[in-house]
Amino acid sequence: MVQQPHQRRIKYQAELDSDFGRQIAAMPGGEKVYSCIQCGACSGICPMSIYMDYSPRRIIAMIRAGMKNDALRSQTVWLCASCYACSVICPRQIKITDLMYALKQRAIQEGAYPKRFPIPVLAREFFQTVQRDGRTSEGRLIARVYLRTNPWRLLKQASLGYRLLRHGRMSMRRESIRSREELQTLLRSVG
């Protein structure tokens, strides 16, 4: 094993954004971050926490400490599968899944998500398709995501796609609603 140079494990106050916690607390889902007692039940129940760089509990601690960069750049928020197990078990009723959404939005706004990590791309593609057509077509969506992140995988997945098509379970047809303008007017008016 290659000996890693010693990594410094210290956080200077100057590196922190002291207002970050308050900002997150003001977003839907963030209301109760200051109620967290760091019990770890969220991370214990989370099926994905074992793959995360920081467990959800630590993300909350980081938010409160003002570790904005570390929190937004973490893979944690993108690994959340939205299963809501944490929200249900949390003894302080923190809406942790919704909190993850809040962080995802902040990360996208600030362009601070891990690059070439496919999930934010999926989110953006999905967003744009729906914004335009009102509906998505899974086949087209997946194809576009792979094209943008990892075209090689698209090839590897081709056989799966073929099987889906053959079983009538995927269409490359562009789905759309009738009142697209109405929808776009609506979406423009909110936010």
């Binding site: 019990c39 770890g40 129940i45 074992i50 003894p91 009723q93």
Partner: protein, 670 residues
């Protein structure tokens, strides 16, 4: 009719206004000098002064002095809540020979300085409230506190350690005590425990002698298997109705030989024993546990053959023979007690762990609650003190999960206060008795009592594992071979920062404490209130922790909030002392806020008669008016509000007084 003429002999009233700084509590927000200036401008105010601590001796002396010097006839103190110092200043008035009810307290701390952001706003609000009181006090009447003789005797409700201790203290002081317990035996939860933390005394060894003393004490009457069904009257003069449920064994005739149990048609115990939480068995005729007080068996009609079929050879009756102690026809019996005071010591319930399915209680047989494990550990328990899994084997590893149903907004928000310590105790006992690896899963270890932290340290030395993290789930889902056929605890070890899966043979859930399921009904019965979460509410969290808002009714033990044994006993002693202080008085003074009916204006419409919650008003057929039976009136004022002709009024809350106060609070306010 009210009005100040009657009490000032035609002289204009002279009001003294005294405004307290309460250190910086009031003065830090309210501009007191400005308020004093303002008070001086109010009609009939003869003097207005401020002082740092009006409730202190110098403050009180100043008021008394000014009453004399300025010839004050009405008194107004603006300070804290009347619930705190109204009595203090009434006494001051009285000592300076003003009738104490010609006084009005203005709450400019709790209602003003502490709740208002802006200093100017607070000052204006204080002014308005003082103006309101200055108007109101003009209409006060001279009143005498109602005096009633105090009856001897105390009812203690609940025969756990709190009730037992309180009863013994009072009985030793010569007071007549009625100890009412709804279970067949006194002893409560403590009787179920094996050892007690942190000293590891055997619970039975320290409790049963007290139970026996209770039984033998000439001043104590134990009403077991009984419930209070009605409470009426007031401080010093309560009437308590107690329902004695039928045991079908006559207590007075029973000598405690238990031959009846021996002779029961069921040769072996077959039915789940409630006292052992269903882990042990009993017969239809049984005593809940060997040291029960009273040592009188009882028959469970649900399982007794005689009750179910009427065709039992009745071995019990034959065994009892001439003593004739078995009575299948026993009925509910109502006992009426007249006492001066009441102690409510109804204790707690444990959290129902099946409410959290992810901990597997009721799903996996080897998941137990702490209380169940107490019974397993107990030498007189169902296993004779041996800890065995349901398959009869000894556990090799045990997980103890803290905070089950505590510190959780989905169940109970509070810290149950005893679970950390009883978990440590169980951890120690499990290790000692089984040699198993013991894992404690905790959020925080709370060990603030005497010798508690030391006990925690002892456990750390003993090699018990402590993992900081709230357990996420207990399951029988194996990921690795060593997890097969075991219970797997999944938790984030928050100190290491990793999720861990720990396979164990036995899970102990340290269930939290909850108010008794029927706490709400009990509050209604005794006219006391509940704090958040249904714990009974004390009169003041610091200064009156065992009193309730209902005079003469006191609290002891965990019914007021989670408590361990030392705190419970201390509180029970305090409650006993408070009751003794009450019953040792010959008379009790009661706030004269009762109603009165001016018969000159009463048309006899009787609307008040039907509305009075205490049947304190009756219709006099001769005079054709409603008449108040004053001792029964507790002063709610419902009659005064409903009386359509204004004949019914309430002292201290007369129409004119309230009009004046409302008007004063509003008119002229910016």
């Amino acid at each position: 009719m009210s009005g100040f003429n009657s009490s000032t002999n035609g002289h204009p009233p002279r009001i003294g206004v005294f405004i307290c700084h309460c250190g910086t509590n009031i003065a830090g927000k309210v501009n007191v000098p400005e308020v004093v200036e303002f008070a001086r401008t109010l009609p009939f105010v003869a003097v207005a002064k401020e002082y740092k601590y009006m409730c202190s001796d110098p403050g009180q002396e100043m008021i008394k002095h000014d009453i004399q010097q300025y010839g004050l006839t009405r008194l107004l103190v603006a300070a804290c809540s009347p619930h705190i110092h109204e009595e203090t200043f009434r006494k001051v008035a009285s000592e300076a020979s003003i009738n104490p009810f010609l006084f009005q307290m203005v709450n400019i701390r709790e209602l003003v300085s502490w709740v208002t952001e802006d200093g100017h706003e607070a000052t204006e609000k204080a002014k308005a409230m003082i103006r309101a009181a200055a108007k109101r006090v003009l209409f006060h009447d001279e009143l005498e506190p109602k005096k009633y003789p105090v009856k001897p005797g105390v009812v203690v409700v609940g025969g756990g350690i709190a009730g037992i201790h309180a009863a013994l203290v009072m009985a030793d002081a010569g007071e007549r005590v009625y100890l009412v317990e709804r279970e067949p035996s006194i002893g409560g939860h403590m009787a179920m425990f094996d050892k007690t933390f942190p000293t590891l005394d055997c619970a039975a060894c320290i409790l049963t002698p007290k139970m026996t003393t209770v039984r033998r004490h000439p001043n104590i009457t134990v009403l077991s298997y009984s419930e209070v069904v009605e409470v009426s009257g007031f401080v010093g003069n309560f009437k308590v109705k107690v329902k004695k449920k039928p045991r079908y064994v006559v207590e007075e005739k029973c000598v405690g030989c238990y031959e009846c149990i021996e002779a029961c048609v069921f040769k072996e115990p077959r039915f789940p024993n409630e006292f052992d939480l269903g882990l042990g068995k009993r017969k239809p005729i049984y005593v809940p546990f060997p040291q029960a007080v009273p040592p009188v068996p009882m028959i469970d009609p649900e399982t007794c053959i005689q009750f179910r079929t009427g065709k039992c050879p009745k071995g019990c009756v034959n065994a009892c023979g001439d003593r004739d102690g078995i009575d299948f026809d026993q009925k509910d019996e109502i006992v009426e007690l007249e006492v001066g005071g009441i102690i409510v010591a109804t204790g707690f319930d444990t959290f129902d762990a099946s409410r959290l399915p992810y901990y597997g209680y009721g799903i996996y047989p080897n998941v137990y609650t702490g209380l169940e494990v107490e019974r397993l550990l107990n030498a007189s328990g169902p296993t004779g003190g041996e800890v065995l899994l349901r398959n009869g084997q000894k556990p090799q590893s045990v997980g103890i999960i803290h905070c089950v149903g505590s510190r959780d907004e989905n169940t109970n928000r509070w810290c149950s206060r005893v679970c950390c310590m009883y978990s440590l105790k169980l951890a120690h006992l499990m290790k000692e008795r089984t040699g198993a690896e013991v894992y404690n899963f905790y959020i925080d270890i709370r060990a603030p009592g005497k010798g508690y932290e030391e006990f925690y340290d002892r456990l750390l030395q003993e090699g018990v594992h402590f993992i900081r993290g709230k357990v996420a789930e207990v399951s029988d889902w194996a990921m690795t071979p060593d997890e097969e056929n075991r219970l797997v605890i999944r938790v984030e070890d928050t100190l290491i920062g990793m999720v861990r899966r720990i396979p164990v043979d036995m899970v102990i859930l340290s269930v939290g404490l909850e108010p008794q399921r029927d706490a709400q009904e009990v509050t209604k019965l005794f006219n006391i209130s509940c704090s958040t979460g249904n714990w009974f509410m004390e009169r003041h969290p610091k200064l009156a922790p065992v009193s309730t808002m209902s005079a003469g009714i006191y609290l002891a033990g965990a019914c007021q909030g989670p408590k361990d044994i030392p705190d419970t006993v201390a509180q029970a002693g305090a409650a006993a002392a408070e009751v003794l202080a009450l019953t040792h008085k010959s008379v009790i003074e009661v706030e004269p806020n009762t109603a009165f009916i001016d018969e000159r204006y009463c048309s006899g419409c009787q609307i008040c008669v039907g509305l009075c919650p205490y049947s304190a008003i009756y219709y006099d057929e001769e005079k054709k008016v409603a008449v108040l039976n004053e001792p029964l009136c507790l002063g709610c004022g419902v009659c005064a509000a409903a009386c359509p002709s204004g004949a019914a009024q309430q002292h201290l809350f007369q129409d004119e007084q309230l009009y004046a106060e409302i008007e004063g609070a509003l008119v002229g306010v910016g």
